[in-house]
């Protein structure tokens, strides 16, 4: 993490806005939820990155002779397919491993887009106030009144489902929380003395916004980003489950549940395995987010 401390002549804002870089490792170690949640998330990211090395089989190769082979702990399971095979005979563990890529990529990419849109709007509204703020508040209100899942389903139906479309749609729809929080915090910060000092020193508005205001929003941004990544991953899964997200044969966890739901009566593990993976990932991200929030403001919970 880069050092975000402003230059020495400008005083730093209040103690409640410590930048993450200056929080000692000891305090991170005192946050069990951050350690556990963050640990699982890092593990999942590593699994996603090294999927080709870890997956025992090709996740796309079908084997009609070995359909719905149960996982190794059931009768009839074998170590050849540790988590069994799906209704088309594809190795389930390999599909699960590659599925982590889809979930994590869509979660991070969509939130990156949403974060840029929401932060920009929030910064402008909070810093300038007045008419600009009215426009930002209005846009946020309009966005909040749209039923997000329905709009996402409709847009994917019109433009066709693919990873790119899902990322763009979720990115364009999920910026509201960024805008609301950044706007409120930026409005507080822009009234502080050091911003006036920067103005007096002749700094441009762009410089003040990006170098003086934005770095002090970093803690809040990280916390919102974790919440939104978890929620974007769940939305991708829901869209894919309804058949209007990532398309087959891409291994998305939501799509895996959807494809297997007609077989769940006889092979419940076909939906239980991707469902558990999804719940574990989202749980870990939220847990890490809670830990981060406590770390940033130990007394500001809730």
């Amino acid at each position: 993490m880069t050092d975000t401390t402003p230059t020495a002549s400008i005083p730093t804002p209040g103690a409640s806005m410590k930048s993450p870089s200056r929080l000692s490792l000891r305090r991170i170690a005192e946050q069990p939820s951050l350690l556990v949640g963050g640990g699982i998330v890092v593990l999942m990211i590593l699994i996603a990155i090294f999927a080709p090395l870890l997956a025992p089989h090709d996740p796309f190769v079908q084997n009609i002779a070995a359909r719905t082979v149960p996982p190794v702990w059931y009768d009839g399971g074998s170590w050849e397919h540790i988590l069994g095979t799906d209704q088309l005979g594809r190795d389930y563990l390999s599909r699960l491993i590659y599925g982590a890529r889809i979930s994590l990529f869509i979660g991070f990419a969509a939130v990156a887009i949403a974060g840029v849109i929401g932060t920009t709007l929030g910064l402008l509204g909070g810093y300038f106030g007045g008419r600009v703020d009215m426009v930002v508040t209005f846009l946020t209100t309009v966005r909040l009144s749209l039923p997000i899942i329905l709009v996402a389903l409709a847009i994917v139906a019109i433009f066709g489902g693919s990873v790119t479309i899902v990322v763009i749609v979720l990115g364009l729809l999920k910026w509201d929380r960024f805008a609301v929080v950044v706007r409120a915090t930026a409005a507080q910060i822009s009234r502080l003395d050091y911003i006036n000092s920067a103005k007096a020193a002749g700094a441009s508005t762009f410089y003040i916004l990006t170098r003086e205001v934005l770095p002090n929003l970093a803690p809040q941004l990280i916390v919102i980003a974790t919440i939104e990544i978890a929620s974007a991953i769940l939305m991708e899964a829901a869209l894919s489950f309804l058949g209007l997200g990532v398309q087959p044969p891409t291994p998305s966890w939501g799509l895996m549940i959807s494809e297997a739901k007609n077989y769940m009566f006889f092979s419940f593990w076909l939906i239980a395995i991707p469902g558990t993976a999804l719940a574990l990932l989202v749980f870990a991200i939220n847990l890490a987010g809670d830990g981060l929030r406590d770390l940033i403001s130990p007394d500001g919970r809730g």
Binding site: T141, P147, L150, A238, L242, K261, M264, V282, G302
Partner: protein
């Protein structure tokens, strides 16, 4: 107060107009409306007639204003697939969605209020941690996955409840439980935060100092005051309920607005989709308007900003 209401009402009308433009655009971006209306195998002449009779050759602004005027008169167009007026379709489905919403809201509040109060009263203790653990788990479990698990258990193994449809009240139990569970965590967090806020007030300390038993202080003094802002926030969270109902209704084939919208996407029945998007947005706009006005009435400080 009157000025505040008028300002707030003006904002709501502007938002509603913006949403209507977006809903109108939804029907236009999907490509050729005329050939969609004419159906498959229509000749060029048929399409030309439809373009003229539906005014599709006029400027987009005129088309939008005509459409808006029709909507305001309750004419939402005709469904491509069902060949029935959209307004009629919506009226026939809305009841099921309202029942589902009320049932799941009741389930969510029965869970969220006691858990949120417990977590706030014992804030920081292991009870608080268990409550926030439950809420974290609730947020992590995908609603459609929970729905399938409930179907497996109650409809297939135990044969207690039907798995899909909306014929009897039993059909609503599994969807309502799923949706209620889905919206419980955010409600619980709101109740907890509201209670912690209320418990830190002077009147609570005074009540405690007077020797009033702790449970009475919590329930009679703090909870009442904590719930006022929570009610307002809950209306804002209704967006979550509306969105969730689309997914849940589709899974359980519960014949409501969400299922209608899902079907209309599959059939590319855009007039229906457009109407449902517009209606759900308007419900949200009206609810937030009401909640803002009620809050401003209860708390005069809010009227100033």
């Amino acid at each position: 107060m009157l000025i505040y209401i008028l300002k707030r009402l003006g904002l709501a009308v502007l938002v509603a107009l913006c949403v209507s433009v977006l809903a109108f655009a939804l029907l236009r971006v999907q490509g050729n409306a005329a050939s969609a209306l004419a159906g498959e195998g229509a000749s060029a002449e048929d399409i030309a007639i439809i373009i003229r009779t539906h005014g599709l050759d006029r400027p987009v602004v005129v088309q939008y204003l005509t459409w808006l005027a029709n909507v305001l008169q309750g004419d939402l167009g005709t469904s491509y697939f069902f060949k029935r007026p959209v307004a009629e379709l919506i009226v026939s489905k809305i009841g099921n969605t309202v029942i589902l919403a009320i049932m799941s809201l009741a389930i969510a509040l029965t869970l969220a209020v006691p858990l949120g109060v417990l977590a706030a009263v014992y804030s920081g203790s292991w009870i608080d941690r268990i409550c926030s653990g439950i809420s974290l788990l609730g947020q992590a479990l995908p609603s459609f996955f929970l729905a399938l698990c409930l179907v497996m258990l109650f409809a297939i193994h135990l044969r207690l409840l039907p798995a899909s449809g909306a014929q009897t009240w039993q059909h609503f139990i599994l969807p309502a439980v799923t949706l209620g569970y889905y919206i419980t965590p955010p409600f619980m967090r709101l109740v907890r935060a509201g209670m912690i806020d209320a418990l830190s007030n002077d009147y609570v300390r005074t009540a405690r100092a007077k020797g009033i038993p702790s449970h009475k202080v919590v329930l009679k003094h703090a909870l009442r005051n904590a719930l006022v802002p929570v009610v307002g926030l809950v209306t804002v969270q209704l967006g979550l309920l509306i969105g969730g109902s689309v997914v849940i209704e589709s899974i359980f084939a519960l014949d409501g607005l969400g299922y209608l919208a899902y079907q209309s996407i599959g059939y590319r029945d855009f007039p229906v989709l457009q109407a449902v998007v517009l209606l759900l947005s308007l419900v949200y706009v009206v609810l937030t308007l009401l909640s803002d006005v009620v809050n401003a009435w209860l708390d005069p400080r809010l009227r100033v900003s």
